[in-house]
């Protein structure tokens, strides 16, 4: 059973896509997921998914999409896989259309597309303002179909703890824990695909779901997997501040004509339109975020004297808003009690997405043979800054590539050398929980997490200074020490969430270290990584992927060249349309 078996960890878009692909080719899939896969974080995606199908007569093409993506990512992404992704995008949209996703339609009954940031084209397909939910449900339904057929076995409520490596170092399965009864067991496989999503929780409150701790990717990093470009964290310009979460106000609000402004001298100042006449409110996220920061923090022009700006939709007819943006307007209404069709929304930037993640090759294989990664947990498609609506695409495309590569790997893999590695790894993980249970200091894991989030948000987001990054690294070392003095507030019993959270916090601290150190060492500004002391991009020194490898003394950082075979790097400017500054 282990030979034709693939373990997929994570049931977001990437994991489910891979599962369906493998099941369809008569492989058996064990699908391991922390939460019921239908409740995965991918449901949060609002705005849409990109594909250049050029139905609006704008001369769009996969090549244009590729160019926008590389340019938007400030040339840090390897170009070969990005080009493949953009070429596969139209087929992906058609596939989801066939699976029944209720994408919005034109008068002719064709798929409709809207505009998103960092492009001049209508390239984003959308299903109301809950596109991620609709895409995920379509896959969830196909997974259910293969479950009934016996091709996929779901293990929901199981947390991935580690990979199992054989005597030759190759990945032969995973060890996971059942949250309800605490059982720990191994899942055997010829290949494993990790699709566990992003690490937003490292920053405390973000736009992410609260399960996005990055702990699974961190576990792989601790077991020798290379983590790439960790310092590239996207801060989304427009979120609704909240006690428990910073809720996203999708870029589609600007895609449908929303305007950003603050009052200045008694009049609205549409500062994005003034600063970036070519792209206006639809500049890429890193640019918009820094502009909002400048206006609020440096110029003190935030609305009501607070760190917030207006995002205004009131000039758009209410019924049109309802059809195109209903889902996100409902979120704003429910959480603030105000109607965005009548009063401008108040928003501020929030941590949103990690461009960095596990290093993978062009076939999605990590540095551990037999272990593949897809979706937000890997680093491959977005370079220094992700364009809106490209993530859902990269998750689905990455899931497809990973499934193909994992199946090929399984077909070629020899019998495992050395003794059976499964029991030893299970025992190692059991010992970790024994240790956590026996800790009896007075630190509370949830309070420690809050402190970590505050330090990371204050120092490792929009604007970065080396002295403050040095302090942050010291704080992380202090947090790691304090972690050992946690007294878990709940030691045993069913569904012991705080026990698992304590372990996840340990892993978040390790990734925080990778992120902060990567930022400290990169003395330039590129995409989402901005240092006022080094305000320009430095291609000579840093047109390179950051590679973090775990050592007992913390991360070791190396650099690797970027594949730039199609588009030579050019300066990135959004105040004029980019065609004009092409050579």
């Amino acid at each position: 059973m282990d030979r034709k078996n693939i373990v997929i960890v994570g049931g977001g878009l990437a994991g489910q896509m891979a599962a369906v692909r493998a099941a369809e080719q008569h492989f058996h899939v064990d699908l391991v997921s922390l939460v019921p896969i239908k409740r995965s974080h991918s449901v949060c995606a609002q705005g849409g998914i990109n594909a250049a199908v050029n139905t609006k007569g704008e001369g769009d093409s996969p090549w244009e999409h590729f160019d926008d993506t590389i340019y938007g990512g400030d040339f840090l992404a390897n170009q070969t896989p990005v080009k493949r992704m953009c070429e596969s995008a139209p087929g992906i949209i058609y596939l989801f259309d066939r699976m029944g996703v209720p994408f919005n339609r034109t008068a002719e009954g064709l798929l409709d597309f809207r505009r998103f940031g960092g492009t001049k084209h209508h390239r984003t397909a959308y299903a109301g303002a809950t596109t991620g939910q609709q895409l995920l449900y379509a896959l969830d339904e196909q997974v259910r179909r293969y479950e009934v057929a016996g091709q996929i076995t779901k293990h929901e409520g199981w947390e991935f703890l580690s990979v199992v490596r054989d005597g030759g170092g190759a990945c032969r399965g995973v060890v996971a824990a059942n949250h309800v009864d605490g059982a720990i067991r191994a899942f055997r496989a010829g290949a494993v695909i990790l699709a566990t999503g992003g690490p937003g929780l490292i920053f405390g409150r973000s736009t992410n779901s609260v399960i996005n701790t990055g702990a699974a990717a961190a576990a792989v990093y601790l077991q020798g997997g290379v983590y790439a470009n960790g310092e590239f964290i996207q801060v989304h310009p427009t979120a609704i501040p909240g006690e428990d979460k910073l809720r996203l106000m999708s870029e589609s609000a600007r895609g449908e004509g929303g305007r950003v402004w603050v009052p200045r001298d008694g009049k609205p100042w549409y500062f994005l339109e003034e600063m970036y006449p070519a792209y206006g409110n639809l500049v890429p996220r890193d640019i918009a975020t820094r502009a909002i920061f400048e206006v609020c923090v440096n110029q003190g022009l935030g609305v009501d004297g607070k760190n917030q700006v207006y995002l205004d939709l009131t000039h758009i007819p209410a019924d049109e808003l309802e059809v195109k943006l209903g889902g996100i307007l409902e979120i704003y209404r429910k959480f603030t009690g105000e109607d965005p069709a009548r009063v401008p929304m108040k928003v501020f930037p929030a941590v949103h997405y990690s461009m960095g993640g596990l290093w993978v090759d062009f076939d999605q294989m990590t540095s551990i043979p037999g272990l593949f990664a897809a979706g937000e947990c890997e680093y491959q498609y977005h370079g220094g800054n992700r364009l809106g609506a490209n993530s859902l695409l990269s998750c689905i495309h990455g899931g497809q590539v990973a499934a193909r590569a994992a199946m090929d790997h399984v077909d070629g893999v020899p019998a495992a050398p050395g003794p059976d590695p499964y029991d030893a790894e299970v025992r190692r993980q059991e010992a970790v929980f024994e240790e956590i249970r026996s800790m009896d200091g007075d630190e509370n894991p949830y309070r420690l997490h809050r402190e970590l989030g505050e330090v990371m948000t204050d120092n490792v987001t929009v604007v970065r200074h080396n002295d403050r990054l040095d302090e942050t690294l010291e704080r992380i070392a202090e947090f790691k020490e304090r972690w050992r003095h946690i007294g878990p507030p709940d030691r045993d019993g069913t569904l012991n969430q705080s026990l698992y959270f304590t372990r996840q916090l340990h892993h978040m601290l390790e990734l925080a270290h990778v992120i902060a150190l990567g930022a400290r060492l990169r003395d330039e500004s590129r995409g989402a990584h901005y240092k006022p002391a080094f305000p320009s991009r430095d291609d000579d020194r840093f047109l390179k992927t950051t590679l973090a490898t775990h050592t007992p003394d913390g991360p070791r950082i190396d650099y690797e060249d970027v594949d730039i075979q199609y588009l030579p790097p050019r300066p990135r400017v959004y105040d004029v349309y980019r065609k004009e500054d092409r050579p």
Binding site: V148, F335, Q400
Partner: protein, 248 residues
């Protein structure tokens, strides 16, 4: 408004354990929701009398009412904890697990039955494969809007909780699953296998259990047009029955 938020929470250590009530008093902050209250208890797990306790266990992921995870009974009504704003909940807040599903611990219940019900109705579009076969069928925007209103169902269980017919005696699959049958049968491709879904909802625990009490549609946070869908399904199954009878 008082600067203290008072919560009574029904707790239960495991599926077989006896339930008990615990009270908590928290400092009121602006814009709190039930989730931020539960988070505050996690960070400082002491009850209203200052006695140490364990953090309350509950489910949540998205915190923006799209995943359905955080559904619980709040002041007597099934709803999502993430959109339950403290300032709108009155002087004291009571939290209980959903009553129609087995309790796992505290506010967490096992809603697996809802996913199983989706298997019964063959809740998927039977596509040939995920390889590239070109564009899908065209669809008028108006039909698309109806489909979309059904496909926003996040399997949260509020409608199950509200429906008097969902109980151990009836075995009723419930309003959400019936609406999903309508969703798949409305799709141009799903329509080709509509009769299989109609047969499924005509079976034991199917549409005949619905007593048309209309509680479900009022309980749904996503405004899924449950009763409209069920009425349409009723007509379709009747017609299907007659057709079966005529062609016997």
């Amino acid at each position: 408004m008082s600067d203290t938020v008072r919560l009574r929470i029904r707790r239960q250590d495991g599926p077989e354990a006896r339930a008990r009530w615990e009270s908590f008093a928290l400092r009121r902050k602006p814009h709190m929701n039930v989730i931020s209250c539960l988070q505050a208890i996690q960070a400082d797990p002491v009850d209203a009398d200052g006695r140490a306790t364990t953090p309350v266990v509950w489910d949540c992921n998205c915190l923006e009412e799209v995943c359905g995870a955080c559904t619980m009974v709040i002041n007597g009504r099934a709803r999502q904890a993430c959109t339950a704003l403290v300032d709108e909940l009155g002087a004291s807040i009571t939290l209980e697990p959903l009553g129609k599903f087995p309790v796992v611990r505290d506010l967490v219940v096992d809603r697996q039955v809802m996913f199983e019900n989706l298997k019964r109705i063959k809740g998927w579009i039977p596509i040939d494969g995920t390889y590239d076969l070109g564009p899908g069928p065209r669809l008028p925007e108006r039909e698309r809007q109806f489909a979309y209103s059904l496909s926003r169902c996040m399997t949260c269980g509020c409608c199950m909780e509200a429906c008097p017919q969902v109980n151990p005696r009836t075995n009723f699959i419930g309003p959400a699953t019936l609406a999903q049958a309508v969703y798949f049968n409305a799709s141009p491709t799903g329509r080709m296998t509509a009769s299989e879904r109609l047969e499924a909802v005509m079976g034991d625990g199917g549409i005949t259990e619905c007593g048309n009490a209309q509680n479900c549609v009022k309980a749904c946070p996503k405004e899924v047009p449950l009763t409209t869908a069920i009425a349409g399904l009723n007509r379709a199954t009747t017609w299907h029955y007659v057709k079966n009878w005529l062609t016997r």
